[in-house]
């Protein structure tokens, strides 16, 4: 049995004991690099009753690409994101581009190659029973994801995504983002012009709690208004 396969299994077996996002990224990174992966991330693409607005929970990504992706609104035309909602099986960028060949989609795929220097990725859909759609994206250059490798990376990704989501609930989302997942959720709705009461209704929390999340985000970012806070988060790709 290949040593990198066993390393992936060992990661999955021990992942639930990890309590620190940095440690999670370090250990998962060690595993996936053995398969030729350069960048990796886990995203939440959508939750029930919410618009499709992917956000990065954890991983090591190219910040220039994250910024570009959100600034250009690529989520609306990204063939990878569209494919994510259609399958539970891992798929590659090439397979996604082949399924949905639009000019806008080709532009997204071209730009990700140009900016990140990676030319292929394995995308592992993670659908949970609460209706949330998430994914793990493993990209690299000159890497191929053969059929025997996919189940192994799928297994490790299930645990990477699961633990990242556990840790994100109430913790800062990434090293570069000081806000919690809940605060980002609230800011996302602020961008849509929602009031605290409306955000509370959407997220199933009280108006008071929604207000507190937004106020905490403003304090953390040292900004005066809720709109400033949401724009600040959006510009940095935290709301992609």
């Amino acid at each position: 049995m290949r040593a990198e396969f066993l390393a992936a299994l060992e990661f999955a077996q021990g992942a639930d004991e990890i309590t620190d996002p940095g440690e999670l990224n370090r250990r998962f990174g060690e595993v996936v690099r053995r398969f030729g992966v350069r960048y990796f991330s886990t995203i939440v693409a959508a939750a029930p009753g919410q618009p499709v607005m992917p956000r990065i929970l954890s991983g090591e990504v190219d910040p220039a690409w994250s910024e570009r992706y959100s600034a250009e609104g690529f989520a609306a035309v990204d063939p990878v994101l569209a494919t994510l909602f259609e399958t539970r099986k891992p798929f590659t960028w090439r397979e996604a581009a082949g399924r949905r060949s639009t000019r806008a989609g080709q532009r997204v795929m071209g730009e990700v190659r140009d900016i990140t220097g990676t030319d292929e990725a394995l995308v592992v859909p993670i659908h949970d029973r609460m209706g949330e759609v998430a994914a793990v994206i493993l990209s690299g250059s000159g890497v191929s994801f053969e059929p025997d490798v996919r189940p192994v990376l799928h297994l490790a990704s299930v645990y990477f995504s699961g633990v990242a989501r556990d840790l994100a609930d109430g913790a800062p989302v990434e090293a570069c983002c000081p806000l919690t997942a809940r605060q980002l959720e609230c800011l996302r709705w602020v961008m849509d012009g929602k009031s605290d009461w409306e955000i509370g209704e959407i997220l199933g929390i009280s108006e008071h709690t929604a207000h507190n999340h937004v106020e905490a985000a403003k304090r953390t970012l040292d900004l005066g208004t809720r709109v400033q806070a949401s724009v600040h988060a959006w510009r940095r790709g935290w709301l992609i």
């Binding site: 639930d16 029973r129 609460m130 645990y159």
Partner: protein, 261 residues
């Protein structure tokens, strides 16, 4: 409550078991497309549906099966060890004290966030059954995408082998933590207290209303501590009058003690 059906009380659940086997056909054969299963008269059955098998069944408010699973003592083998041994790197998948969880399904009507308590109750009942039988290990295998979902079910699920593609998907073997402290941890995690499992006494006659009995049991054992003693006394006396040869009092008392513990 979740009903545990065993060889001794099976006569009370004939219709339920037939309904369960039909639901297994709907779920595993029709919905998930498992082509190699044996279906007879609309009922999915395999060689492990024998006297050793324990079935856990939960009902919806209309009396239909909402959730169901099979627990198999794997002393001499189970589906995983007999048919998919290549999925297991970290054994054993069979032997004394090892149980296998299989044929778990929830009704499509239960999908979604608001029905989580029903499934959490079922998953707690699985671990309760294992703790009571002093299980050493609870193993099983499932599709990889379901493994991710299982992580949010309240169970502590750990893979025990490398996943492998099969006809209908990619399967991975797992074990579920099933010791007494795991049960306590799980109760806290899913915010469900009290006993979930109901095991109907074997002496009840065919045709007994086991669902009503389970409801009464649930009421009695989940009473506040100060009321439990007097109520148990009244119930025990009533049951003795009703059926002197089969006293339910000790059953309630035993369940009540467990709930209190």
């Amino acid at each position: 409550m979740i009903h545990l059906i065993n060889a001794a009380n099976r006569h009370l659940y004939r219709d339920v078991l037939a309904q369960m086997h039909r639901a297994r056909t709907d779920h595993f054969v029709e919905e998930r497309g498992w082509r190699n299963l044996c279906v007879e008269a609309g009922q999915e059955l395999d060689e492990y549906d024998n006297d050793q098998a324990l079935y856990l069944v939960g009902f919806d408010e209309f009396g239909a099966i909402a959730v169901s699973a099979r627990l198999l003592p794997a002393d001499r083998g189970c589906v995983l060890s007999d048919h998919f041994p290549h999925l297991v790197v970290e054994g054993p998948a069979c032997g004394p004290g090892v149980f296998e969880l299989s044929r778990y399904f929830a009704s499509p009507a239960l999908r979604g966030r608001k029905h989580f308590p029903v499934k959490a109750s079922m998953n707690l009942a699985v671990v309760e059954a294992m703790v009571e039988r002093r299980a050493r290990r609870l193993v099983g295998f499932t599709d990889l995408h379901i493994l991710g979902i299982m992580r949010y079910s309240g169970w502590r699920v750990r893979p025990i082998g490398l996943p492998t593609a099969y006809d209908e998907g990619t399967a991975a073997a797992f074990e579920i933590a099933c010791q007494a402290d795991d049960l306590a941890e799980m109760q806290a995690a899913v915010e469900l207290s009290g006993r979930q499992l109901f095991e109907a006494p074997a002496w009840l006659p065919h045709g007994s209303d086991v669902r009503a009995l389970a409801d009464v049991t649930s009421l009695v054992i989940n009473l506040p501590a100060e009321l439990r003693g007097p109520v148990l006394e009244v119930v025990s006396r009533t049951v003795r009058d009703w059926r002197p040869q089969g006293d339910l009092g000790p059953l309630f008392a035993r369940l009540g003690e467990r709930a209190a513990a």
